[in-house]
C-alpha cells in the first residue's frame, strides 16, 4: 500500500496543477449592476455622433469625401507611381496591411494602424504628432519611406488632371498659379527639394501649402466615412442587465462571456480599451519592446512637441478653426509620464488586424495577452501595467472574447473600392 502513496500523491498534485491552469472557473448567474453598466458602455450603440472638426471646413462635405476617395486610391500620388494610401491601409483588411512594419516606397519604422473609427480620435499617429486627420493625411505623401512625393508635385498633378482640378475648384476655388520651375519643392523634402522651396516667394509657398492642406481636408472627409459595424458583442451588450441571466440572448459562448468578465475585471483591459471603440485614444507606456534595430521611441513625449510646432496644426494659418476651438492642442500635457507612451488602438475587428503594437512586434493575440499578463519592465521610463497573474485558461478566454468584436464595416460599399472617375 505504502509504495502507491507517493506516486498517487504525485498524480493527484499534477492533476490539480493542470486543472488550475486549464479548467475554467464557473460563471456567476448574473452580472452585477456595475458590470452590466460597464458592458453597456462598450456597445457600439453608445458611440456618439462624430464630432465636427472645426479645423476642417469640408470635413462633412460629400464632394470633398469623393475627391478624398479618388486621391486615397490613386498611386500617382507617389514618387514611384506605385503607392497610394490604400497600399498600406487596405479596405479588405480593415484598412491595415497585415505586415509588422508598413512598406510604402521603402520599409517604414511603424506598424500600419487601422483607419476604422479613427476619426473619433483627437490625435493621430502612434505618438499623436498630428492633431487632425487632415494634417495627418499630408505627412505620408511627403515621407521618403511612404509616398515619397512632395507638395509641389502633388498640386501639379491636380492641376494637370482635368477631373481633379474641376472637383478641386468647385470645392475650394482656383488652384494657385504654379511656377514653371522647379518641378519639385517642399520644406520637408531632400536637400534639392528643400532648396527649391526656399527659392519660391512667400506667396507661392503659402498658395501651395493652402492647396496641399485642402487635399488633406478632402482625404479626411473620406476617412470620416470609415466606421465600424455592430458585432456579436454589441448584440449581447444591448440586452445585458443585472436582472437578465449571464448567458443573455445566446450570442456569446460561455468561454467568450468568461473573457468579457476578465476584460472588464481582473484583466484590467477596460482601463485603456474603454468606450464603444474599445480605446480611450490616449497614450500609455505598456513595456512593449522596441522594434529590432531601433532605439526605444520617446512616444507621445516627442509627439506632443511635434504637434505643437506642426505647420498644419489646429492653430496654424491653414486651419479653419478659431484658436479657442483648438481645445485638445491648447490643453495637451507634455510631462515625463509620456516618455515611451503610444496611442491605445481600437479593439474593433482586432482579430483581422494582426500583427500588433506600434511596431508590429507581437504576432498574435495569445502573445499579446501573455505580454500583459507578464507586464515586463519598460526599456524606457516605466510600464503603467502591472503583472496580472492570470491562468492560461483565462488568457484563452480573453482571446476568445476578442473574436466577438469583428463585424463588417458600417460603410456604404461604394466607399471601400477605388472609384471610377
Amino acid at each position: 500500500m505504502k509504495r502507491f502513496l507517493i506516486p498517487g500523491l504525485l498524480v493527484i498534485g499534477l492533476g490539480a496543477g493542470l486543472g488550475w491552469q486549464l479548467l475554467p472557473a464557473p460563471l456567476p448567474q448574473a452580472w452585477t449592476p456595475q458590470e452590466a453598466a460597464l458592458i453597456q458602455s462598450l456597445s457600439l450603440s453608445q458611440l456618439p455622433a462624430l464630432s465636427p472638426d472645426p479645423s476642417n471646413a469640408v470635413a462633412d462635405n460629400e464632394s470633398a469625401a469623393k475627391l478624398g476617395q479618388l486621391l486615397y486610391f490613386d498611386s500617382r500620388m507617389s514618387g514611384n507611381g506605385e503607392v497610394a494610401c490604400a497600399t498600406c491601409h487596405q479596405p479588405e483588411r480593415y484598412f491595415t496591411d497585415g505586415l509588422p512594419l508598413a512598406a510604402g516606397t521603402a520599409l517604414g519604422p511603424r506598424h500600419t494602424p487601422s483607419l476604422v473609427g479613427l476619426s473619433h480620435s483627437p490625435w493621430f499617429y502612434w505618438d499623436g504628432r498630428k492633431d487632425s486627420q487632415w494634417a495627418q493625411a499630408l505627412a505620408p505623401i511627403e515621407a521618403g519611406h511612404e509616398h515619397n512625393l512632395d507638395r509641389l508635385q502633388v498640386i501639379r498633378l491636380i492641376a494637370k488632371d482635368r477631373d481633379y482640378s474641376e472637383r478641386y475648384t468647385a470645392l475650394f476655388g482656383e488652384l494657385p498659379s504654379l511656377p514653371a520651375t522647379p518641378q519639385a519643392a517642399s520644406p520637408l523634402g531632400n536637400a534639392e527639394a528643400s532648396a527649391s522651396w526656399q527659392r519660391l516667394s512667400l506667396a507661392q509657398q503659402s498658395g501651395i501649402n493652402r492647396a496641399f492642406a485642402n487635399l488633406g481636408k478632402s482625404l479626411a472627409a473620406y476617412q470620416r466615412k470609415l466606421l465600424p459595424g455592430p458585432s456579436r458583442f454589441d448584440e449581447y451588450a444591448d440586452q445585458v442587465s443585472s436582472e437578465s441571466g449571464i448567458s443573455g440572448n445566446g450570442m456569446l459562448s460561455r468561454e467568450e462571456i468568461a473573457g468579457l468578465k476578465l476584460f472588464i475585471g481582473d484583466g484590467q483591459c477596460i482601463s485603456c480599451h474603454n468606450g464603444p471603440l474599445f480605446t480611450n485614444f490616449e497614450f500609455h507606456n505598456t513595456g512593449v519592446l522596441a522594434v529590432a534595430g531601433q532605439l526605444p521611441p520617446m512616444g507621445r513625449y516627442d509627439g506632443i512637441r511635434l504637434a505643437r510646432k506642426d505647420e498644419f496644426n489646429c492653430l496654424s494659418y491653414y486651419s479653419d478653426a478659431q484658436p479657442e476651438e483648438c481645445i485638445e492642442l491648447r490643453f495637451a500635457k507634455d510631462d515625463n509620464e509620456l516618455v515611451g507612451a503610444q496611442k491605445t488602438p481600437s479593439l474593433r475587428n482586432i482579430t483581422e488586424t494582426a500583427p500588433y503594437m506600434h511596431g508590429g512586434q507581437i504576432a498574435d493575440l495569445t502573445a499579446v495577452m501573455q505580454h500583459y499578463n507578464d507586464a515586463p519592465t519598460s526599456m524606457l521610463s516605466h510600464n503603467e501595467a502591472k503583472p496580472l497573474g492570470l491562468r492560461p485558461v483565462q488568457l484563452s478566454q480573453l482571446v476568445a472574447f476578442m473574436q466577438t468584436l469583428t463585424a463588417p464595416l458600417n460603410v456604404d460599399p461604394g466607399w471601400l473600392v477605388a472609384p471610377s472617375q
Partner: protein, 136 residues
Amino acid sequence: MTFRNTAAAVPLAILFMLPVSQLWAQEANYSIQTSKGSTLDVFSQLNPVVINRIHSWELALTGPDESPVTGAEIFVTGGMPDHDHGLPTLPIMTRETSPGRYLLEGVRFHMPGRWQLTVTINSHQGDEIGLLDFEL
C-alpha cells in the same frame, strides 16, 4: 411703445440668461472644503461627467464667511492613485466668469475608476488646498 419694448425685451433677456441660469440651477457635481475652510463647488459643463470627453468645469469658491472669493488663482493637478498616472490633459483656469466663479478648461478623464485631484488656490486669503476624490 415703452410697453412693447419691454415686452420684447423680456423674452430676449430670458434667452440670454438661459445658459447661465441652467448652470446655476444645476446641483454641484462635487463639493469640497479647503484647508482654510473655504467651499469649492464644481459645476461640470459635461453633466454627468463621463470618460473620454474633453470639457470645462466652473469652480465656485466661497470663503468661510460664505462670501465669494474673488481674484483667486486656481491650479488643478491629479490622477489615478491605483494606476500610478496623472491626468491625460493639463487643465487650466482661464478666467473668472463672475465674482467667485472660475472657468477650468481642458478637463478629461480617460479611465473608469478612482480619480484624485488636488486643487491649489492662491487668493487674498493666502494659499489653501483641497482634495477631490471621486469614482467614474
